[in-house]
Symmetry: C2
Subunit: 115 residues, 2 copies
DNA sequence: GCGATATACATTGACAGACGAGGTATAGCG
DNA sequence: CGCTATACCTCGTCTGTCAATGTATATCGC
């Protein structure tokens, strides 16, 4: 089953930050990494990815610099900042809270008809 | 920690369907039930709730009827349909898939810096 | 050389869900 | 009579997602 993007919504930036926690990266690479990690179940659309980068940079969570490739297309690399790392931790906690809440609320449907 | 509504987004209808799986209900009641179940961590806003009811009814997942209260404010009750029950099962599965994917992607940030 | 494909980044406009703000109405309590 | 709780509804705005489109470079097959 593929993943409905409505359900991912709000996690895009955290997913990007999680990738950058492992080291600097660039858009195309991060996108492929996500596609690979999820076994093709989920792919960030390019427009979504790049607008998320802008938001994260504006917020001071990441900084960018152009790579010095001597061949191939130019790459804009992103590096996570201390604020970004802090933000990652917080967003991950928020996700875990939301996850628990949703799990609980959806499980209500399994309770059967009440009298 | 309260729950960011961006993270709930897309689950509103499923949450409502889960409540209606237990039996007919009306908006105000369902809203209070959710607030109570989550210990105050999460509350569906009224505008969100009622627009979700409209969508669910338009989709044939629920049907509504006016209660015959002899006292107090009138109540519009909702009843889940067979299509709604099917939809609940599907949406719940989709959520579980999305949940696993997000968990995996967010866990990437714990891996530490790669060389 | 030339078209196809892959890599790589970027912007615009449209869409959909969430929600603040505002409105209506009934009932009980002091 | 004002306050609070119950109960429903709608309008307009905001925000994140994404299809469509555009740019440019490199490689591979023919």
């Amino acid at each position: 089953m593929s993943v409905a993007s409505e359900l991912i919504r709000g996690n895009t930036e955290t997913i990007i930050l999680a990738q950058l926690m492992k080291g600097d990266g660039y858009g195309y690479m991060i996108n492929k990494a996500i596609l690979s990690l999820t076994g093709g179940k989920f792919e960030l659309k390019e427009a979504t990815l790049y607008t998320a980068f802008r938001r994260l940079e504006d917020a001071g969570c990441i900084v960018s610099y152009w790579g010095d490739e001597t061949t191939g297309a130019r790459r804009r690399y992103y590096s996570i900042t201390d604020l970004g790392r802090e933000s990652y931790r917080l967003r991950k906690k928020e996700w875990e809270t939301a996850e628990a809440v949703i799990d609980k609320l959806l499980a209500e449907g399994e309770k059967g008809v009440s009298i």
